[in-house]
């Protein structure tokens, strides 16, 4: 077919669509054979290595830095710190609509606002020399008392808008609660959680003929290029960021301290400089999910119809930059009530700035609200799925906007059928398998289906192939492969005639791999360019040696999209086994059924959804960054101390999807990056209640907590 295809046009007979068929990763062989180079392993002549030195106090000032001793060490080339580092521009608004986090605009002042704050970059000929020198660097601090005490009821908590309004409200909450037949009033907490992707943050920066070249591991070349250009007062065209392969991001791979420090060092030394974070540094420099303390109050009629809903969430941020974990957002789009009040508050503490982490807001928010609904279902004597079906809203509960498509009920029906939910005995603590008590639980999931403006460049090559250039990022999601399928269909050719090049800011601005918006946004731009290219090719002219190139920009189209509630949905199911004598909890079975628009590549989509659900198991049972109150730093900040689920924790797990068609949507694709984690922890926690009769409102559900709950119940048993 390739050879037979006419050179001047796309295939006369379009092949069967590639979208929707399973396709292994186009770069899969490179990755599994080690040929794929990641940012920290690309060779450069004359490469120098930078190592970040971070603060060992949680609050204070740098009195002095003893650079002389370190500069005398073998191989050491430079020590950059607030006394000698290049000055940065910090007064600007970046791509995500915020000012830069001062954690990233390094070495501009002597203040230390948190433990692990970057205080210096030591550059040496080898990474070993740089590390030894950085760890030998003596920094004298004027230490000040710190406050890292996160808990509900802090008087200094303030409402903060972030990416959504801090507060929404309608109706008389107290009156509706008073008039309710069933009321739930409970507090739920989630701990500090970390992205913990396999590949650490890594960058190499160098100047090449007046142009700054950055080889990086990030979630959006456009994002990083914009920030670096502004900080260093460069024309965006004078900066090029490439990010060919990325070993996971989960929200933490934007611009961070290491890139800025590397650019500084490359500028001062006029040499390529590489900076890689250690795992331990990632715990303080890479961002994290704030702990949350959430209070939920629900009031319902005897038939389960919600009269009152209140969801208040407290998260923390640093003293230098505002970030909100908007957990109450889940309730703003999921459930309506006559009185409906939500609030996101933050408290500013002497801790690093949190950031986006897989399903920001939705992951912890769904834990609280979906557990509270389970509690309400028990009080109403209703099946928890039935309770949710009785509260399906007609329009956005807060926005009043219509839903573009809302297939939550269908997810529950299909999930219940496949999980074997029918006939479930609602009584807790009555099923046993040897030493294990068994229970099942469910929860709803949703995540926004947004889009960001993107540009794409498509070239019809003279040899009959097509090249797609777009500054997309494949952070392990399979984006490169998905775009190959999308481009093939849009061009009406087979996938072997399409090569997709991504991860290069020179390809023009594009949406980041974030917010579950990447594939949807990039596909839009690719489709638009492909349509124009096909029109050009249909004119029948010969393709010149340099090919025919068209460029698309979806800025106007994205801006013109009708305002609607656009989300993907899901129903999560879990079966757990709990040993009350040891506190062990095992998730024996998990099923997620999702409505996530058009599924581009079933293979990688399933991978993402299951990955999110596994993370949900982790969130429910394992993940927790522990802070040492005395020092304000972490305890056990490594992957031995910070537990994520192992293979043995993930037994029978399956994700699948239903038809989710929206004829009015120009792309039809939603997103599968984040919804897999939403509701997953709640489904597990609800199953633990069903197994044991004990409500676990604090994550993770550790053995000691299960044992304590069992001891508290014992006198009444």
């Amino acid at each position: 077919m390739t050879t037979a295809a006419p050179r001047s046009t796309a295939a006369a007979t379009p092949p069967a669509g590639a979208v929707g068929t399973a396709h292994t990763r186009v770069e899969g062989v490179e990755k599994v054979t080690g040929a794929a180079r990641y940012a920290g392993e690309i060779p450069f002549a004359g490469l120098a290595h930078g190592w970040l030195a971070v603060s060992t106090v949680a609050r204070g000032r740098i009195r002095s830095i003893d650079t002389d001793a370190v500069l005398a060490m073998p191989g050491v080339l430079a020590v950059l710190h607030h006394g000698n580092a290049p000055r940065l521009e910090t007064d600007y608004i970046g791509m995500l609509g915020t000012r830069p986090d001062p954690t990233c605009t390094v070495f501009q002042h002597d203040r230390v606002p948190s433990m692990g704050w970057p205080v210096a970059l030591v550059v040496a000929e080898t990474p070993e020399q740089a590390r030894e020198a950085a760890e030998s660097l003596v920094v004298d601090y004027e230490q000040q008392p710190h406050d890292i005490d996160f808990h509900s009821g802090r008087p200094d908590a303030v409402g903060l808008d972030g990416h959504m309004p801090a507060v929404t409200g309608k109706g008389d909450l107290e009156a509706e609660l008073a008039a309710s037949a069933a009321v739930v009033d409970a507090e739920y907490t989630t701990p500090e959680e970390h992205h913990s992707m396999m590949e650490p943050h890594a960058v190499t920066a160098l100047w090449d003929g007046g142009r700054l070249e950055v080889f990086d591991s990030n979630q959006g070349a456009t994002w990083v290029v914009g920030e670096l250009a502004k900080m260093f007062s460069l024309e965006p065209s004078a900066v090029r960021v490439r990010s060919e392969h990325v070993g996971g991001g989960f929200g933490s791979k934007g611009v961070r301290a290491h890139q800025v420090a590397a650019v500084m060092a490359a500028t001062v030394l006029r040499r390529p400089v590489r900076v890689v974070m250690t795992r331990r540094q990632m715990f303080s420099l890479a961002g994290y999910r704030s702990p949350t303390a959430q209070r939920v109050r629900l009031g319902a009629d005897a038939d389960g119809r919600l009269r009152a809903l209140e969801h208040r969430s407290l998260s923390l941020t640093s003293t230098v930059h505002d970030f909100v974990e908007p957990s109450a957002g889940h309730s703003r789009v999921m459930y309506d009530a006559d009185a409906h009040h939500t609030a996101n508050q933050v408290v500013r503490l002497d801790l690093p700035t949190p950031t986006f982490m897989r399903a920001p807001g939705e992951a912890p928010g769904s834990f609280a609200m979906e557990c509270a609904l389970d509690e309400l279902a028990v009080k109403c004597g209703l099946d928890p799925i039935e309770l949710r079906l009785r509260n399906e809203p007609e329009r956005g509960p807060v926005s009043g906007l219509p839903f573009s498509s809302r297939n939550l009920a269908a997810c529950f029906r299909e999930g219940a059928r496949r999980f074997g939910w029918a006939g479930r005995d609602p009584r807790p603590g009555v099923r046993r398998d040897g030493r294990w008590l068994l229970g099942t639980g469910t929860a709803a999931a949703s995540f926004g289906a947004g889009a960001g403006p993107s540009t794409a460049v498509l070239t019809a090559e003279a040899d009959g192939t097509f090249t797609v250039r777009i500054a997309a990022a494949d952070i392990g999601t399979g984006a490169r492969t998905a775009l190959t399928l999308i481009a093939a269909d849009a061009l009406g050719v087979t996938t072997d005639r399409v090569r997709v090049r991504i991860g290069d800011s020179d390809f023009g601005p594009a949406m980041i791999a974030g917010g579950s918006m990447g594939t949807r946004s990039w596909a839009w731009a690719v489709n638009t360019a492909a349509a124009e290219l096909r029109e050009r090719l249909a004119l029948g002219a010969d393709i010149p040696p340099e090919g025919i190139t068209v460029r698309s920009d979806t800025t106007a189209a994205v801006g013109a999209l009708a305002r609607k509630e656009r989300h993907s949905y899901g129903a999560q199911f879990a079966e757990v086994a709990v040993d009350l004598t040891t506190g062990e909890v095992r998730v024996r079975r998990m099923l997620g059924i999702f409505a996530a628009g058009r599924i581009v590549n079933p293979l990688t989509a399933r991978n993402q959804l299951v990955g999110g659900m596994v993370w949900g198991i982790s969130m429910a049972l394992h993940e927790e960054a522990v802070r040492d109150r005395a020092t304000g730093g972490h305890y056990g900040a490594d992957l031995a101390g910070y537990h994520v689920a192992t293979n043995a924790d993930v037994q029978d797990i399956e994700a699948d999807w239903i038809e989710d068609h929206d004829p009015d949507d120009p792309v039809g694709i939603k997103g599968v990056g984040e919804i897999g984690i939403v509701g997953a922890a709640a489904a597990v926690a609800n199953a633990v209640w069903h197994a044991t009769g004990a409500r676990h409102r604090d994550l993770p559900i550790r053995p000691d907590r299960v044992l304590r709950a069992a001891a508290e119940k014992a006198p009444h048993a």
Binding site: R280, D628, A630, G633, D704
Partner: protein
């Protein structure tokens, strides 16, 4: 990471000589703990003496029904050995409950006994720790300690020993043999680890410069019916929050002999002698097992956040002994 010298030893006297009296030199076995500690700066040896290729990788019968286990036998080979599986099943179970397949393929028997605590204060050089920096204090007592010791700890250190293997070896009275420049010596495992007291940095009774050459497991017919149960905060690849190695000889419903050792409760694998005494001659029932557990745990001094371990260990002892008694009754 400090630059260090590396020497490979080919025989035991050569290894001992290479290490010499240098306090900055360390023997390197599988490196599964030492290399981590070097990366984090807890250990900064000037020289490593690699003992992994010493001819100490055999498991042999002692002729009287016991086993002699070379110090460089890997954890994987120990767990898989037919005689270990037959005569000391709890030892196989304990080894397989630890680490991961890859780590067990590297880790050695001698190194396993000498691994250091995973207390997060010990492994973080920016924090105080009496074990790592004597006199600097023990922040765990007022800070994070939900997985710390409930038995045998002191006001100077509340860290726990991380080994699973060591718990089973302790139950079975293993003896550690070592060599120094002066000759050979032996230490029963019961005396191998020193009490914490005010010297938590002194962990074993091994003389300076000593190389562990082998372990001897004395014959223990009771061990043929033995079991190891480990509880941890995820299903695999985590250190214990509590573990039990137990062996019971039950005849006519009465416990004739009991071996019991506890893991993750003290600075060393904890031989539960009070429980063993209480069990011997007692009816093999839940009440006896609970009474035995209580006898052992009466000495427990939990901190505010690890009191659950008393309940956990009591439940574990009862559960494991009950399983063994039921097995005996079949």
């Amino acid at each position: 990471m400090r630059e260090f010298g590396y020497h490979k030893a080919h025989d035991v006297p050569g290894a001992v000589a290479l290490l010499g009296a240098d306090p900055d030199a360390r023997f390197l076995g599988g490196g599964t703990n030492l290399v981590d500690l070097m990366k984090s700066g807890v250990e900064r040896p000037a020289r490593l003496v690699d003992v992994r290729e010493l001819p100490l990788d055999a498991i042999e019968s002692t002729g009287d029904g016991g086993l002699r286990i070379g110090a460089t036998v890997t954890n994987s080979d120990l767990a898989a050995h037919p005689e270990v599986r037959r005569a000391y099943p709890a030892l196989t179970q304990a080894v397989l409950a630890g680490a991961s397949g890859q780590l067990r393929n590297m880790a050695t028997v001698g190194g396993n006994l000498l691994q250091r605590t995973r207390c997060g204060y010990f492994t973080d050089v920016t924090k105080a720790c009496n074990k790592r920096a004597p006199g600097s204090g023990c922040p765990a007592i007022e800070g994070e300690h939900h997985n710390h010791a409930i038995l045998g700890a002191s006001g100077h250190c509340v860290a726990v020993h991380p080994s699973d293997m060591g718990v089973a070896l302790t139950a079975f009275d293993a003896v550690v043999s070592y060599q120094t420049a002066e000759g050979t010596g032996e230490l029963p495992l019961a005396d191998f680890y020193l009490p914490v007291g005010d010297t938590p940095h002194r962990e074993t009774a091994l003389p300076a410069g000593a190389l562990i050459t082998h372990l001897t497991l004395p014959p223990a017919p009771v061990a043929a019916r033995s079991r190891y149960r480990k509880v941890r905060e995820r299903a695999s690849y985590a250190f214990a929050i509590g573990s039990v190695a137990a062996a019971l000889d039950v005849r006519d419903g009465v416990v004739r002999e009991a071996r019991l050792a506890l893991g993750a409760v003290a600075s060393r694998p904890w031989r539960a002698r009070a429980a063993e005494t209480a069990l011997t001659g007692a009816p093999a029932d839940a009440a006896s097992f609970a009474a035995a557990a209580d006898a052992e745990l009466a000495a427990a001094k939990p901190l505010p956040d690890n009191a659950y371990k008393v309940t956990l260990m009591r439940n574990l002892i009862v559960a494991v002994c009950t399983e063994l008694a039921e097995e005996a009754a079949r």
